[in-house]
């Protein structure tokens, strides 16, 4: 009798990388539903278009690299990147914006660095920043939230939306407009209270800004689901949201005309919750240890606030995440956990004594 030789452990849990990715996809559903409810079909078209592009790109590159296409596609990582990018891009943006962003994400930011697990930067955010800088007009046009649509105007239907995206049709007047963060940024000279009264984006909102507050709550819900499922720990999201809330509270300045905005507005606007639970939790490009991820999250929260308050861009999650990606290996060097039987935490670069 001869038996197979395998090393221990022989038992394995049922959790697979593909399951992890599927759960992340599932967790985007509440946010995506809120987006569609508040802004129409655009985001779903983005997500589908980005997904198809991503899968085609991933398959092509994996094939060029001489690897098994089926094996690498089955990890669902390309789909996660595509869905997150599709969510981040403005609804009803021209198709080529989505395609260019996705190709850049998958081909340049992911596969050229070695594929899944080897990319130093978050692929979705690389793609997002490339199109943001390249096509500023298309990227800063956002759909008007449901509550603010003019009388008698509704979001374009599915067919009309497809025409807008692929055919270059211009949407009806009043269908597109600024985002709350954008509007707030361009309302300097007014007290925060005045902005909240005069700007319908805030006047029609319950907590932070019409439409956007629901989208952020949707991603918060999905994120909490992922924490409950132990897909990631609380450290990164809490670090980012805590730092953002603390900074906006510190600089609130009683709502003066130079105030950068309230903590509630910052937490429930723009890509805050998407970033906190779906972008900075990308394990590949983030710091590694729990303490490292807490610091990494705090860094992103600080950067988001600094760019939103004093930078040129109304939102800043993509830039903040990419800058923190640079810092991740450095954070890792100083945030090793204390191992059993050791009195001190060590540094990654420490050398054995003697």
């Amino acid at each position: 009798m001869a038996f197979k030789q395998v090393t221990s452990p022989h038992a394995h849990s049922a959790q697979k990388t593909s399951n992890v990715m599927q759960l992340v996809l599932l967790a985007t559903v509440p946010g995506l539903v809120a987006l569609t409810w508040q802004f129409g079909w655009g985001s779903i078209i983005n997500v589908l278009l980005a997904s198809i592009t991503a899968v085609v790109c991933e398959a092509a590159i994996v094939h060029l690299r001489g690897r098994s296409v089926a094996f690498y596609l089955s990890d669902y990582s390309a789909l996660v990147t595509a869905v997150l990018l599709g969510i981040a891009l403005p609804p009803l943006a021209p198709w080529w914006v989505i395609v260019v962003g996705t190709v850049f994400s998958i081909v340049i930011a992911k596969q050229l660095y070695g594929g899944l697990g080897y990319n130093p930067f978050n692929p979705a955010m690389v793609g997002y920043v490339v199109v943001l800088i390249s096509f500023p007009i298309q990227m800063t046009t956002w759909v008007t939230p449901l509550a603010l649509l003019p009388e008698g105007v509704s979001h374009p239907g599915l067919i009309e939306s497809l025409h807008i995206v692929f055919g270059g049709y211009t949407p009806a007047d009043g269908v597109t407009g600024a985002t709350p963060l954008d509007s707030f940024k361009h309302s300097s000279g007014l007290l925060v209270d005045q902005i909240y009264q005069r700007d319908p984006l805030f006047a029609q909102g319950i907590w932070a800004g019409a439409g956007w507050e629901w989208v952020n709550l949707g991603f918060l819900l999905g994120g909490l689901l992922l924490i409950a499922k132990r897909i990631f720990t609380w450290h990164g999201p809490v670090g980012m949201l805590g730092a953002l809330a603390l900074m906006s509270a510190l600089f609130w300045d009683s709502g003066s005309s130079t105030s950068p905005g309230s903590p509630v507005m910052h937490l429930l606007s723009g890509a805050t919750m998407l970033g906190a639970f779906f972008i900075l939790t990308d394990p590949v490009s983030s710091a590694v240890s729990n303490r490292g991820r807490l610091i990494y999250g705090i860094l992103i929260g600080l950067l988001v606030f600094i760019i939103r308050a004093w930078g040129n861009y109304p939102d800043a999650v993509a830039f903040a995440v990419l800058l923190a990606n640079f810092a991740a290996p450095f954070i890792d060097n100083y945030t090793l956990p204390r191992t059993y039987g050791h009195t001190d935490r060590r540094r990654a670069t420490e050398k054995e004594e003697g």
Binding site: F3, K4, S8, H10, V20, Y340, G341, H342
Partner: protein, 577 residues
């Protein structure tokens, strides 16, 4: 109820313990042949003291301990020694090792043996001797000789004795079933340990809360003994020595230290039973409880198994279905190792033979890339960063690996268990550990070689220097010899050379201090010169006679010799005047 502490990390694999607990501990028919490996423990292999063809009785010593950290081996049954040779043994590498094979005679006849009734009256040293002679090594894992472990020395008094009944590996129920059926003897074994260790303040039996029957079985026996049974939530790997000590005491064993350094001893509960049998019944360790389990075994239960029983014998009596079996594991599914064949024998540390079906333990799926999800770090019971270790292990970055405390990894497999990418992490760590050990050994070797070379160089340089010094001295002597006698003006020495010559002359003068010596030397010179003069004159006469061409040279030599003779005579006259 004692306080317990919670270790970080850990995993909850399916326990799968009920399958083998439906029946009591069974006994197998006597195997035809028993193969006793000489090295079943940490330390030096035992040395055979029997010969092929020799008859042995059950319990007879067949191999003696080789030094302090070693144990003797005993015949597990009566019969004839049929071979002493290398055989395949239970080892992850499938290596061959020296074994003694006994062909059993079926009588299972014991050698005369006798226990001690009142061990309390015996000195600890004497008890340790009994344990050592009974060939007892730790039966939980590594197989460290128990008598050595129980004798930590006077400078390290033991205040806490921990009996490990955790049995946290899935499937294994050897300790559980032994406690259920032999609680009284186990507790007596613990009392013996207590006597050896001079009655430590705390005696804990650490047990996971998934063994309520065992806890219940122990309860009446520990009452009033000062032994506390401490149960804690089931989590793998709570049964690791370091983990259990933390759970029960809240203390960590510093990296590189032993529990004894903190005044603690941790011993497997199966070993306490063997100690009781050795001391009270006089029986050496020749059998143990082994679980046979896994769905490829038709009968899943525990057996009191003779050491040396071939695994094939166990499987044959367990309705084993080879085709349905994905692999045969010695130990549990987390830390056990696969057997290359069923011909290997059961040893003192074999707590389980696991024969899982493909449904239970399927073939490994191909590994996917690490996405640094961090689930491994969450599962690690010693707070390492397995994902970073994996990264540096691939890069063979030994410095980083050591900075990330690779050597504190206990290889429990929790990281690999949770890894969603199916990466065989532990295998990478094992490989890196041996690479680093090898590199360290090579460094020591090359350091030695370098030291040797440097010493050799130093010695050669010194020898060269000494030679050079001698040469200089000889040169000086030669200079002095040519300069001292008559005509220092014949050469034009440099000032320093002149100094040297002057000094040499002074030395020469000092040497010829006494007039008696000078006179004697001059007289010898005169005698020699007279002799040479006679010879030279004879040669000159011969040359003139023959009409040779060298007459002038010879006459000059005669003249020269005569002059020197006259000079010497003049000096002598001067001296004696």
């Amino acid at each position: 109820m004692s306080q317990t502490w919670v270790t970080p990390g850990g995993v909850h694999p399916p326990e799968n313990k009920h399958q083998s607990l439906t029946q009591s501990i069974g006994v197998l028919p006597l195997p035809e042949k028993l193969v006793v490996p000489l090295n079943q423990h940490i330390g030096a292999p035992a040395i055979p003291c029997v010969e092929v063809g020799q008859k042995v009785l059950k319990g007879e010593v067949i191999a003696k301990a080789a030094g302090t950290v070693s144990i003797p081996m005993h015949a597990p049954s009566s019969g004839v020694v049929s071979a002493i040779e290398h055989r395949p043994i239970a080892h992850a590498s499938g290596m061959l090792a020296p074994c003694i094979e006994i062909t059993t005679d079926g009588e299972d006849r014991w050698i005369a043996h006798e226990g001690v009734d009142d061990y309390e009256l015996l000195a600890p040293r004497k008890l340790l001797e009994i344990i050592a002679n009974a060939g007892i090594s730790g039966m939980g894992g590594a197989g460290f000789p128990s008598a050595v472990k129980l004798n930590p020395g006077r400078q390290r008094p033991i205040h806490t004795l921990i009996v490990n009944a955790t049995e946290c590996e899935p499937y294994i129920t050897a300790d559980d079933s032994a406690i259920r059926e032999r609680a009284a003897e186990i507790v007596e074994g613990i009392k013996i340990l207590s006597a050896i260790l001079d009655h430590p303040d705390n005696i804990f039996i650490g047990i996971e809360d998934n063994k309520p029957e065992a806890i219940e079985a122990l309860a009446p026996h520990v009452e009033g003994t000062g032994i506390s049974v401490v149960s804690f939530p089931t989590k793998y790997p709570s049964g690791g020595e370091k983990q259990l000590i933390y759970i029960l005491t809240g203390k960590e064993i510093p990296s590189g230290k032993l529990p004894a350094d903190l005044g603690m001893v941790c011993i497997n509960i199966g070993t306490t039973y063997a100690i009781k049998r050795a001391v009270v019944n006089g029986e050496p360790l020749i059998s143990r409880v082994t679980t046979v389990t896994g769905d490829a075994a038709g009968v899943q239960r525990n057996y009191e198994t003779l050491i040396g029983t071939p695994v094939s014998h166990l499987l044959a009596h367990s309705a084993f279905d080879e085709k349905a079996c994905s692999r045969v594991i010695m130990g549990g599914p987390m830390m056990g190792f696969t057997l290359p064949s069923a011909d290997v024998p059961i040893v003192k540390t074999t707590n389980c033979i696991l024969a899982p079906s493909y449904a239970e333990i399927p073939d490994d799926e191909p590994a996917q890339p690490c996405i640094r999800c961090g689930m491994c770090a969450e599962a690690c019971p010693v707070s390492l960063l397995p994902q970073q270790l994996f990264w540096y292990s691939q890069a063979q970055d030994h410095e980083r690996l050591e900075a990330h405390n690779l050597f504190d990894c206990i290889e429990c497999g929790a990281c690999s268990y949770v890894c969603p990418s199916n990466i065989p992490l532990v295998q990478y760590y094992r490989a890196s550990k041996s690479e680093i050990r090898k590199a360290r050994a090579e460094k020591v070797k090359s350091d030695h070689a370098r030291e040797r070379f440097e010493f050799h160089k130093l010695r050669m340089e010194q020898a060269e220097r000494e030679k050079e010094e001698k040469r200089t001295a000889r040169r000086e002597a030669a200079l002095q010899a040519s300069a001292a006698p008559s005509n220092p003006s014949s050469s034009v020495p440099s000032s320093s050379a002149a100094d040297i010559i002057a000094a040499a002359q002074a030395r020469a003068a000092a040497k010829q201090a006494t007039p008696e010596q000078q006179q004697a030397q001059l007289e010898r010179t005169i005698a020699a010169a007279e002799q040479r003069l006679i010879v030279a004159e004879q040669k000159l006469a011969e040359a003139i006679e023959k009409g040779s061409a060298n007459q002038s040279v010879l006459s000059a030599a005669v003249e020269n010799t005569r002059q020197k003779l006259e000079q010497a005579k003049a000096k002598l006259a001067e001296l004696t005047a």
